[in-house]
């Protein structure tokens, strides 16, 4: 559990293997909630919050329950149930203890259940980090670091994209390209920029 491990996991998840532009997870909120930069920030904060808790819980669940009882094959069902109930639970807790946080994140929380980035990171953690050789504590630490990095990367890209989209509203785009097509071109160019970072670590 060193700082190097933490920093490596964060940088590789945030910049090099960016969740939206490189792995294509969470495209729906990327296109759907990016019209205004304020809502993009709210969404990415909610995603970061749920993603960190969800990956810690699913990693623990896989190691301590599913693997012990030899029922790894139901991991998809177990994970999606955990995520769905976790989102409900987080919503209730936030509503009870912090009204201001609920006001800013509340409307995005129900959308997160079907956000494939959350399930994708949980499954990816199992596929890439989990192995009988890595001790549980260390694996959990890397999984949580990866989740933080992924959430930050999601926030970075969706915020930049929504800022560009706000400017695009005022631009004179040909009729056939207005709306989603020109946004996808913008995303493609951003993806090319991120592609330059492959191989940094």
């Amino acid at each position: 559990m060193s700082f190097t491990v933490f920093a490596t996991a964060i940088i590789s998840a945030m910049l090099i293997n960016n969740v939206i532009l490189m792995q294509f997870l969470g495209i729906c909120p990327f296109l759907g909630v990016s019209k205004k930069s304020s809502s993009a920030l709210g969404m990415s904060a909610a995603v970061l919050f749920v993603m960190v808790i969800a990956s810690a819980v699913t990693y623990t669940l896989y190691d301590l329950v599913l693997y012990q009882f030899n029922i790894e094959y139901i991991s998809t069902i177990a994970f999606i149930l955990v995520i769905a109930s976790l989102v409900q639970f987080v919503e209730m807790v936030i509503k009870r203890y912090s009204t201001s946080l609920y006001k800013s994140l509340g409307i995005y929380l129900p959308l997160i259940t079907t956000n494939c980035a959350i399930l994708g990171v949980s499954e990816g953690n199992i596929a890439n980090i989990w192995g009988a050789t890595v001790p549980f504590g260390e694996g959990l630490f890397i999984a949580v670091s990866t989740a933080i990095g992924t959430g930050l990367g999601f926030g970075l890209v969706i915020f930049a994209f929504s800022s560009i989209r706000e400017r695009l509203e005022a631009a004179n785009v040909p009729k056939a390209w207005r709306g989603v097509p020109i946004s996808l071109i913008v995303a493609g160019i951003m993806s090319m920029a991120f592609f330059g970072l492959v191989g940094v670590i």
């Binding site: 997870l25 259940t113 071109i185 493609g188």
Partner: protein, 254 residues
């Protein structure tokens, strides 16, 4: 709505990817080649049809406020089945789709059909709707996949990931034409490799969506022009009638 309309609506009128922008993650991620796109489509056909049938069968027994988790569990069950089948019968496809097989669970298309169609209609209609929508989804994936693979390598390959009907990969590419003239060139060296990488996915999909939007805009413009012409004509006719009436009245007065 007749059964045939119900089946066909998924292809063009309500195509999940080109019209509703549902299920965009697999549409971008697994369409690097024609075959992975088709494989993903086949899995979605099975899951969507199955989940629609089961949701429709159970629609009277599922309580209103726990319906979303129940639908998700039904879908996840089918996805787990499909994952095991793929691992057993098409291991190359399983390896190349990787994480996107379990992610079929959170594909908005499937939950959307369960919520908006299967929970309100009978079993036969739901099955037809699921099959039609999934075929439309597959059609869209295959279109994107073929365009991307063709631009990246100059041809299409069958048999690499879906080892059915052939013993070894069969490729169909522009080499067939080029080798008539010159044997030293292969088209693969001149492919736009970008289109098999993530940036190319976004750009290829952007061009396809722009084409559909272009057709829509042109149709709307033509309709607007036709309507305008029709109004002008009616105005002219009314004016002519008025003139004739005025002339007639003047004639009677005289």
């Amino acid at each position: 709505m007749s059964k045939k309309e119900n089946f066909l609506k998924g292809f063009f009128k309500e195509n999940p990817i080109f019209v509703f922008l549902l299920g965009m993650c697999p549409a971008l991620a697994v369409t690097a080649t024609f075959e992975t796109a088709l494989g993903m489509g086949l899995l979605v056909i099975f899951v969507l049809t199955g989940s629609n049938i089961v949701v429709s069968l159970l629609r009277k027994y599922i309580p209103e406020h726990v319906r979303t988790p129940s639908y998700i569990v039904i879908i996840a069950t089918f996805v787990t089945l499909v994952e095991m089948f793929t691992e057993a019968f098409a291991f190359e496809l399983y390896e190349s789709l990787g994480i996107f097989i379990p992610l079929i669970v959170v594909n908005c298309l499937i939950l959307g059909r369960a919520e908006s169609f299967a929970s309100k209609n009978n079993v036969v209609d739901s099955a037809i709707d699921g099959l039609g929508m999934a075929l439309g989804f597959t059609f869209a994936l295959v279109v994107i996949g073929s365009i991307r693979e063709f631009l990246a390598t100059g041809g299409l390959v069958w048999g690499e990931y879906l080892p059915f009907f052939v013993d070894q990969p069969v490729s169909l590419s522009l080499d067939l034409i080029i080798h008539l003239f010159d044997d030293s060139i292969t088209i693969r060296d001149f492919g736009l490799a970008m289109f098999s990488l993530p940036p190319g996915a976004f750009i290829a999909l952007a061009f396809i969506l722009a084409y559909f939007q272009f057709k829509k805009v042109r149709k709307e413009e033509q309709e607007a022009a036709a309507k305008k012409a029709w109004i002008e004509q009616k105005k002219k006719e009314a004016l002519a009638r008025k003139k004739a009436k005025a002339l007639k009245e003047r004639g009677e007065a005289a």
